[in-house]
Symmetry: C2
Subunit: 248 residues, 2 copies
DNA sequence: CGCGCTTTTGATCGTCTTCAACTTAGGTGG
DNA sequence: CCACCTAAGTTGAAGACGATCAAAAGCGCG
């Protein structure tokens, strides 16, 4: 991606896109601050940044005692945890409307995962102090935070139940359905993950993931419609899942 | 897929043990209401029940629009989700200090799991209205709820990373360490789960779980110290995990 | 056009599942 | 107290499935 060229060395790999205008946020309804009146944003001590991250860039690292949470406006972010042997396990995939880094609200904690953009990501960078400050004057924000955490719990449970259970083919099929749910564009098309990411999601090897995706393509359960863009036959995938999970 | 919950031999009977006295709760420090002043409990509209559930009893069922959350004082509770084929997947094991059913705080939702006591369980049954009521006058309770949810997120992530990754022997070893962490008695001993529950935790068949536990017993990584009570060699289990997760 | 990367495919091996038989433990009634 | 009964746990053998190692094919980019 062109962004990496000509950047000052202190800047890692994301691009400042100006200060956020929360009151006119395009997806305001699903964001953290959707219930707040416009004037609440006027006297914030610290600005909310509006940023772009190209694929592969790191939002934050596991164990780092950061001071910011991130609200995803566009794109997909993976949360991963590194094993002792250096292997990575992806524990969540989050898209538009999700907020990551909320574990920092527990005093003295660091980020629990490493967060990486898997696509072009636009997000709001919210200083923890701002969040705490706003919460003080707007108790209803507390509910929004709780809903965000509940969402993450639900996602994690879905992950355990559907992406980490049963045969590999079924898991990959479920992953494709998940991508369609949280990461599809206006045509309903999705951007596939690299095979090793798929593998790190469902807990198989990248070869197995590759074999299954190749097989799906041959059987026309997925097909390419443009560069980096695939259409999936949700109906047929559902059937495959039903067929292969039952005891014949 | 293996069938679970075949016959509803589960009993829903539980025993009322009187109204809770939160101010003198033995494990008050870890409970939901630990920060609240004693007089806050005086004029509650609805009582907080203090109950006992024998092993196998159901706290609540997935999809049921209940009006109560449960705070565990003693014992172990499993949260499980049923597959279309009737097979069950355990997505969490919770012990002393955990609160279950908090998903009801989202308006109009039902329980997301079925909660079953795996041991003798003592818990406080808290009407949702009471929780909401207390929260209104004690904003700090909001933090406690958030911490509870964050705990569940962390548990779920740990589950994905350690109990649903790698070879079966490693997973079972991790499960034993988890039981020791959240469910050990004052001697550090644990109550083993039935083999089919172990299987439903780590995502293998009950036969595989059985083989591995039998092998652990033969190698003296676990041994029985009393009826329903086993001692585990955490050190040796850790070594086994390190040994078997690395690529030789 | 060729270089490095990801993806695909092949062949072999180890692990886990499956189905079945057998053993053990706990509980009930004679 | 023992005989019996049932449910839970253990073990065996066969085969399916995914891991592993290795090599070839495809693709983006300079």
């Amino acid at each position: 991606m062109p962004h990496r060229l000509g950047k000052p060395s202190y800047c890692t790999d994301h691009e400042w896109m100006g200060r956020s205008d929360c009151t006119h946020c395009a997806i305001r309804g699903m964001m953290l601050f959707s219930q707040l009146p416009p004037e609440s944003f006027d006297h914030l001590l610290q600005p909310i940044g509006n940023e772009h991250y190209p694929p592969g860039s790191i939002l934050y690292r596991e164990g780092y005692a950061g001071r910011e949470v991130f609200s995803i406006r566009r794109g997909l972010v993976k949360l991963l945890s590194l094993g002792v042997d250096g292997s990575e396990r992806i524990v969540r995939l989050l898209g538009k409307g999700a907020v990551v880094g909320l574990e920092l609200l527990d005093q003295g904690t660091a980020y629990h995962h490493t967060a990486v953009a898997t696509q072009d990501v636009d997000l709001c960078r919210i200083p923890l102090a701002t969040l705490v400050d706003l919460e003080l004057h707007h108790p209803e924000l507390c509910d929004r935070v709780r809903q965000q955490l509940q969402y993450q719990v639900d996602r994690a449970d879905h992950w355990i139940k559907h992406l980490n259970t049963g045969k590999a083919r079924v898991r990959i099929a479920q992953l494709l359905l998940l991508l369609a749910e949280i990461g599809s564009d206006r045509n309903g098309d999705i951007e596939l993950l690299p095979r090793d990411d798929m593998a790190a999601v469902v807990g198989v090897t990248k070869e197995t993931a590759s074999r299954i995706i190749a097989e799906f393509k041959r059987h026309r359960l997925i097909y390419k419609v443009a560069a980096n863009t695939h259409r999936i036959e949700s109906q047929k995938l559902q059937e495959l899942i039903a067929r292969e999970s039952s005891v014949d």
